[in-house]
Assembly symmetry: C2
Homo-oligomer: 404 residues x 2
């Protein structure tokens, strides 16, 4: 029997058929002119999307490898750094730094809440008198909880401190406004399988001039993740080791689709769909896990109904309704579920998801009327996208115009 | 105008359409049951192909990442190791070890010649009295020169010494006889895009019990390449970070095709085609670069005609005949060309290549008659595969039978 699966985990995301087909083209020589043109084009396109003139380097690994590259290429053994963490990926960043012998102090924020700029300012102030921390490491979009940290405002604080600003934007960039140069981001890491709508296998890393200076004094071992080697090879439009050619080709194709839509529209679409998704989830009587003021545009987390293990809800969604969402990570396992709406996501995708969630809730004997969630989704989407514009929507539109 | 490209670099190889199509299937959840079944099946299939009961761990990177994992997971800072090198990849192995602060002594063998077991024995003997070397690192199939090192015999020497035996078989395993357990290989590294006939993006690493003991005393930093983490996740049929899902699926598909043919037939096919290719190259008046006694079954290197830069020959092959082969690496650039015949390669592929090489030679004003190379190829292939069997072929057949 034919069954179509609705993949709604927070990455890898759904990948459009044209992107998948591009990745299935016959292999090419990674030291030949076709790949060189591909790599040069990808690099330029990513600079545009990330709004940066910094180097953009592509590594053949997933996002975690990019995080490791960010650490290994800019820090030295014993360096003091501050890691602001409000979820599993903040903890991972801290763990990677520690594994390399970096003196990483982790500042924990309650999961589901954002890292506030004031906290960053206070913690940086506490460092005075001690051997000053070299860098601030932070997650942009915390996939494990569905929180978007206010990176722009945090960036202002970090810039004032003179410290290196190292950002994991694996599940943010490509879907969420990301201004590398304007926000003073020295190193930003992203991953092909998240907002970029391609399969996993390419990590994207930007390096500022300050980051390259830090490279020169970095003494951590790196070979596969050596960004200077990546830069040297990029100058001849190659990569040091064999790249994940098929994923590079897919990424090229997805960037073409994204360029047609435009970065401002993409970010708006994510915000609107996230808003509508939150309203639908609440309309079904489910509690949002993340602080809504900082709710992620790419992943929505919600609590399981009382006396229902989230793993059970996720299982019913998958087994009965072919809808695949993520569960809680670490301490949140069984407590929350996470639905991804990043990359090439449409309103129709979310209608499909919400209808499956409705049916699942009914199967779990929850008081839900047919259409309750879908109606809330559609109403909220209309509210977010139709005139009369809300002040927020108007501001976003002005920003879009200003950019042209 | 339609032009079909004949990709004959020594990896990434040609990938069959069915394998490419498999990699273009809709994405799946890397934490769900489909991926778990895939990973468990892949691991078992690779154990069969590599003839090992050791752990087989899959990393989402290319072969060089696997080499780094081999070093970072088994050695400690300041450990003394011997690296036997007869080409660019031997040098890479040495460089990776050095970057990690390992006291790696490189024993260089003339490029194009093999590392002989006696050399390994002598060099190990020289270590007596010094702080004994912990490990021997060696390339199985040196892609840069087209030499297959006699790993079985070297393995006997290394085993007698009690040292850890760490092998880069990136372009060997899957196409060339590789007996991990029988030859006492503690760590073997391979890559999906070589003999396995899949796209790049999965490195394969085997770990013996002795290698795991070495892990426990290893103090080199590793996160993305941490094999203990990979093993812990494998126990629940997952990977620590997001895997290159599409490449994993492709590899599963190519292993199915390989299992239909059988490992003994695959190895025989590579030997026979390599033999025929060497005869064809020589029939065109080109000199073989590698010592024929140790010529690689997966890549044949040959010298450019006198007064012809190999880069020019490679360019004409590509531009006029859509045939893409590799050039010399490092000090061999411009001197040699390398044609790959690994993975899903057939006699017809090599006929196509040799005919293109013939035409190229004529374009370069070399004295070549039409059909000269192709005739030699076909005759040599017949000689290699038809009765009366050569003693070598007979021995191979007996080995095949014994294994059943």
């Amino acid at each position: 029997m034919y069954r179509s699966q609705n993949l709604r985990i927070p990455g890898p995301t759904f990948v459009p058929q044209s992107v998948l087909q591009a990745s299935a083209r016959p292999l090419i020589n990674h030291r030949g002119p076709e790949f060189s043109a591909l790599l040069a084009g990808l690099t330029r396109a990513l600079q545009d999307f990330l709004r940066t003139r910094n180097d953009v380097l592509l590594l053949s690994c997933s996002g975690s490898g990019g995080m490791e590259a960010a650490v290994a290429n800019t820090l030295a053994r014993g360096d003091r750094v501050l890691v602001f963490s409000n979820g599993a990926f903040g903890e991972r960043f801290h763990q990677i730094a520690r594994l390399y012998g970096v003196d990483a102090r982790r500042i924990d924020v309650t999961w589901g809440r954002a890292v506030e700029p004031d906290l960053v300012r206070d913690e940086i102030a506490k460092e005075k008198g001690k051997e000053s921390a070299k860098a601030v490491l932070i997650t942009h979009n915390e996939t494990s909880t569905g929180v978007l940290n206010p990176l722009k405002e945090i960036g202002e604080v970090v810039r004032d401190s003179g410290k290196l600003f190292i950002v994991d934007s694996i599940s943010g960039a490509g879907a969420v406004e990301t201004e590398v140069d304007e926000w003073g981001i020295d190193v930003l890491v992203s991953g092909s399988q998240k907002g970029w709508g391609a399969p996993p296998g390419v990590a994207i890393v930007t390096m500022s001039q300050r980051a390259w200076k830090a490279y020169d004094r970095s003494d951590l071992p790196k070979a596969y993740f050596d960004l200077q080697a990546a830069k040297a090879y990029l100058e001849k439009a190659q990569t040091p080791a064999t790249p994940t050619v098929t994923v590079f080709i897919a990424l090229q194709e997805s960037l073409k689709l994204m360029a047609e839509e435009g970065v401002a529209s993409i970010c708006e679409r994510h915000r609107d769909l996230a808003f509508a998704t939150r309203r639908a989830v609440q309309a079904l009587g489910l509690g949002l896990f993340a602080d809504e003021a900082y709710a992620s545009p790419t992943v929505t987390s919600f609590r399981s109904p009382t006396r229902v293990d989230a793993r059970n809800l996720i299982r019913v969604l998958r087994e009965s309704y072919d809808t695949v969402i993520g569960g809680g990570q670490g301490r949140l396992e069984g407590q929350i579920a996470r639905v991804g709406h990043m990359g090439f996501v449409t309103l129709q995708d979310m209608v499909t998801f919400v209808s499956a969630l409705e049916l699942t809730m009914r199967d779990l004997h929850q008081p839900v009327e047919p259409g309750q969630g879908v109606t809330a989704l559609l109403k909220a989407y209309e509210e977010a996208t139709q005139p009369p514009p809300k002040p927020k929507a108007a501001a976003a539109r002005t920003a879009t115009l200003a950019r042209r």
